[in-house]
Symmetry: C2
Subunit: 347 residues, 2 copies
DNA sequence: CTGTTAGCGCTTTCAT
DNA sequence: ATGAAAGCGCTAACAG
């Protein structure tokens, strides 16, 4: 039943007006008589007209399309981020091109090029590991607004949206202090990463603010994995002096391991020893046991990224502006599994 | 530094040829002299030309864009599905519009309309619950190929890609039979759903094929949740006669609950009682304990969906063809946590 | 309020 | 092997 393409000219014909009048109707212009508008509208329905946005974009030299390039959609964190972006994008009457870079810089470049050819109004990128400022240069030069999410790229003249690791860690430790803990460890993570440095900074600041001396022996970097957590809690246990009664973990994988290690020593996480972990590895959330987590809200982050992008799109010019979101401290109950996580079935 | 838009006409000028020649070069036509091609190519680089695909699409009345509408990207199952689609789409030199319906039929319709206005060549939809055949009608009438993923819509004249629940359940039960189990339960799930009926059918077939009588008392429908699993195993335990030693669970949430229930009875899942679960609730995967799962591969499904779509796009006409993927039986080790699940961090 | 006239950047006959 | 001209479906002046 594929009807022939019906165009504005057909509408004009059917409604007995000219193309331009039809165009005005399409754009909801107030300059057309109601009765004319009605005639045109009816013609649209009668003929089964579908607007050709491509043609309009060409003429106007602009589009209502934004691109989003995700490094790893397989990671729910980024999937949620994309959902947040989608909300704002849809709300603004835009559509989004979506591309998955799979942490591959080469593929990412191809996607960027492709989206540029399609005339996107702006681009949100959660960059693949190893992305260089030069990869973004063409976009910047073309004046296309770009917002980076989660990871920033040194030297790139674009906005980025990062989680506030310092504030997050600080809040977490303050939470433990309020619980009465005096000697607190910081466990896991590779010491040479930016994220580690930031989280450790927040940890230190909270202690200092509380008038507690930072003990380097209570900071135990390991791999950011469950095994790393086991190792870290083991090493923390060997520290002499008053007992350490709580720890902030680099991420939740580490927190898992710490709990494992505690149980192996007949200690109950949450009861005998308080564990707080950054909730980076979202997938594992359901399995986090008696544990408090510091989490940023990826959907909200996606929304903020999109809002930032729109701000730039509407401002007309891309103006690099680094914004940091604040990691929210979420105290999640020990045993309850959030309903949202056990009801999501594919069927 | 936003350079003025450079067009084919600028290239033609710079290279000392006509627009049409440039166009031929852009399309990689073999009809141009190598030397000419080289001159044009250099001009492209010199002037920083970027191809305007929108204009080309308009002229050719076709696009290399496919749309994908996901009901819930927040569910890793569908996120993985999208990744699979993306692989094929990118491989085919297409780009994809992505929309998130959030299980909202209304929003889904808007997305469909929007994508149509943008002239997508085809559409992959994992439909929101409650989608009617009429929602897809406009697409079908316009001759736009549509492939449905995971859920089919009665009466819709479009292709769909479903998991083969019957074969999956059958394979799972056969696995248990090979392990030597003779009396096996089927636990959890709402008996009035299509998915339940299919999985129960596979369960029955496997038993019958093995010459074992199906006992209705061993089929225990409950809610498809962890609590449902606890309830189901409880009821299964009250069945008289020879002991039941294994069960196929409707999904992994149920399987969780079954394990809970077993432990409450001092039985060790995997050792004293074999548990197999359909792995629908992907997020919970890490937490599945001593347990075998029946899983379909969502990425592969996405790839198949995209391939099916391309087949239709290239065929020129949309031809409804229902295809079913086969649920793979994956025997996953009891205690090991797949590395992919503990290393995915957002940072 | 509505019609006329030009294009947007590209591809495509049809000549040459 | 390359050029000239027409036009995809729409919008944007500018008249009326």
């Amino acid at each position: 039943m594929a009807e022939k393409k019906v165009t504005v000219i057909d509408l004009a014909h059917a409604a007995g007006v000219s193309k331009s009048t039809v165009s005005l109707v399409l754009q909801g212009s107030p300059l057309v008589k109601d009765e004319t508008r009605a005639r045109v509208s009816r013609a649209m329905l009668d003929l089964g007209y579908v607007y050709n946005r491509g043609a309009a974009n060409l003429r106007q030299a602009k589009s209502k399309i934004v691109g989003i390039i995700v490094n790893d959609l397989t990671n729910s964190f980024f999937a949620e981020l994309a959902v947040g972006v989608d909300m704002i994008v849809q709300g603004g009457g835009y559509v989004q091109f979506m591309g998955h870079s799979a942490e591959d810089v080469q593929r990412q470049s191809e996607l960027i090029a492709s989206m540029r050819e399609h005339g996107v109004a702006g681009l949100i990128i959660s960059p693949a590991r190893g992305t260089q400022a030069s990869d973004l240069k063409p976009l910047v030069d073309a004046g296309i607004p770009v917002v980076l999410a989660m990871r920033s790229i040194p030297g790139a003249k674009v906005s980025s949206l990062l989680s506030d690791n310092v504030a997050g860690a600080k809040a977490a430790v303050q939470h433990l202090l309020e619980l009465g803990h005096r000697r607190i460890g910081f466990l896991g993570g590779f010491a040479d990463t930016q994220v580690f440095i930031e989280r450790a900074k927040g940890y230190r600041e909270a202690l200092v603010d509380a008038g507690i001396a930072v003990e380097e022996s209570c900071i135990v970097p390991t791999s950011a994995s469950r095994a790393g957590g086991v190792e870290a809690i083991g090493r923390l246990m060997t520290v002499g002096g008053e007992p350490v009664t709580a720890a902030l973990c680099f991420n939740d994988a580490v927190a898992f391991g710490v709990c494992d290690g505690l149980r192996a020593r007949k200690l109950e996480p949450g009861a005998d020893f308080s564990v707080v972990g950054f909730d980076d590895v979202i997938e594992a959330r359901t399995a986090v046991p008696a544990l408090t987590t510091v989490a940023i809200n990826p959907q909200r982050m996606g929304q903020q990224a999109a809002q930032l992008l729109f701000k730039q799109i509407n401002a007309g010019r891309a103006e690099a502006e680094a914004v940091r979101t604040t990691a929210r401290l979420v105290v999640r109950d020990s045993t309850a599994i959030p309903a949202t996580h056990i009801t999501r079935a594919a069927s």
